[in-house]
């Protein structure tokens, strides 16, 4: 099985280094072959809202940078982990850029989710299990709740964890996750 670990080049604090270390060991123990990708302002630019990935080159971003490799790796992994600093209760800029530019992997059309709201249908039959792990110092309870809600209220089959400062807690949370490909 293959895992993709997406890291932010910024905010590589002591907490970040500990989490990265724990994650790498965890994935190794579980038998994953792990690919590490670090994203930053120098290798990943911003989505430009052109919809070229839907109407010019369907399924692929038209910007020529690291994102093509990332989207390819995502779709050929069994598990993707985003390790992100929590900024204002959401992802950091570099990680948000990566998430914004995942949209080639879905279709432009509309469909209704079980909760009645609108979403875009999947492009592929299955997707890797996605885990988002947030970290930060002195996070307010409000920001922590917001970080969970940003994903949990709107997206399915994605696990969201917040670093609680201990390896045991993180490992316990990771061990509860069911791995394997999922639907959207």
């Amino acid at each position: 099985m293959k895992a993709l670990l997406i890291l932010d080049k910024e905010f590589q604090t002591q907490t970040f280094r500990s989490l990265k270390d724990v994650l790498e060991k965890f994935l190794h123990t579980k038998g994953f072959e792990t690919e590490l990708i670090e994203v930053g302002a120098d290798n990943l630019t911003y989505c430009m809202g052109c919809f070229g990935c839907w109407i010019k080159k369907p399924g692929e971003c038209v910007i020529n940078d690291l994102m093509s490799q990332i989207n390819n790796s995502i779709m050929n992994s069994d598990m993707v982990i985003y390790l992100t600093p929590i900024i204002f209760g959401q992802f950091s800029a570099n990680i948000k850029n990566t998430i914004d530019r995942n949209i080639p992997n879905i279709l432009p059309f509309f469909e209704t989710k079980p909760d009645g709201s609108t979403t875009h249908p999947p492009r592929y039959k299955t997707y890797p299990k996605q885990v988002i792990i947030g970290y930060g110092d002195e996070l307010s309870e409000e920001d922590k709740q917001l970080f969970m809600d940003v994903t949990n209220k709107h997206r399915r089959n994605i696990e969201v964890l917040i670093d609680q400062g201990t390896t045991e807690n993180l490992l316990a949370a990771l061990n509860k996750i069911e791995f394997g490909k999922v639907g959207l």
Partner: protein, 231 residues
């Protein structure tokens, strides 16, 4: 003293028509130029180079900040996240910015989906940003089906929605001069369908096919799976 109002357009688009900019212009038009000093910042144009410091200096002197942006994957676009993240760093290192008090912040968020409620978490992020810079977040205008509302703004069936949109921006204009801070709920504004949601989906889908055909593609090309050719 004349209040400085900074209006931020955070659409990531480079050349195409931007709903966020159109909405921001509508909001800006309701602010009397004789009463306020209005400055517009385009995040896309400011994000790199010397214009960024200029934008941050302008922002640090704002009494009122109005941020208009499209929803990207249920939250802020990466480019706006970068702008606010870097402004926060500027703010923490700049005493002029930190000395500014009673700054009011408003958010205008629009998404392509018809339900305005989907924008709520993005508004909460702007609230968190406001708290980090010691500003007073007032309220958000959450717009569902933004691009379609603007595209059909002259159609008779959209008249009521456009009136509601103007009323929402009037609420911002009326709130700005208030000295007393009282709670103000967010304003939700969705598409009022003259037809069913299913038809909205149908017309939306047909729009994508039409655009793809202009690029020489067939409808089936839209479903390509470049990273799993055998699926």
């Amino acid at each position: 003293m004349v209040k400085n109002i900074v209006l931020i357009n955070a659409s990531p688009k480079i050349k195409e028509q931007s709903s966020s900019k159109d909405l921001l212009d509508m909001a800006g038009n309701q602010l009397d130029p004789n009463t306020y000093n209005k400055t517009f910042i385009d995040v896309r144009k400011s994000i790199s180079g010397p214009k960024l410091s200029e934008a941050f200096a302008t922002l640090s002197k704002a009494d009122v900040i109005i941020i208009s942006f499209p929803l990207y994957v249920f939250c802020l676009p990466g480019i706006l996240t970068r702008f606010l993240q870097d402004y926060y760093k500027y703010y923490t290192e700049n005493s002029t910015a930190r000395d500014k008090v009673k700054v009011k912040v408003y958010a205008i968020v629009n998404c392509g989906f018809p339900e305005p409620e989907i924008n709520l978490e993005a508004v909460r992020v702007i609230r968190s940003f406001s708290q980090h810079i010691n500003a007073e977040f007032r309220f958000g205008v959450l717009i569902g089906g933004g691009p379609m509302i603007l595209a059909a703004k002259d159609a008779p069936f959209m008249k009521k929605t456009i009136q509601q949109l103007r009323a929402a921006f009037s609420s911002i204009a009326e709130d700005i001069p208030q000295e007393q801070i009282t709670k103000h709920d967010h304003i939700y504004l969705g598409l009022k369908f003259p037809f069913s949601k299913r038809l909205f989906y149908f017309f939306g889908g047909r729009g994508w096919v039409t655009l793809a055909r202009k690029n020489g593609l067939q409808k089936t090309d839209l479903y390509k799976k470049p990273y799993r050719l055998n699926e």
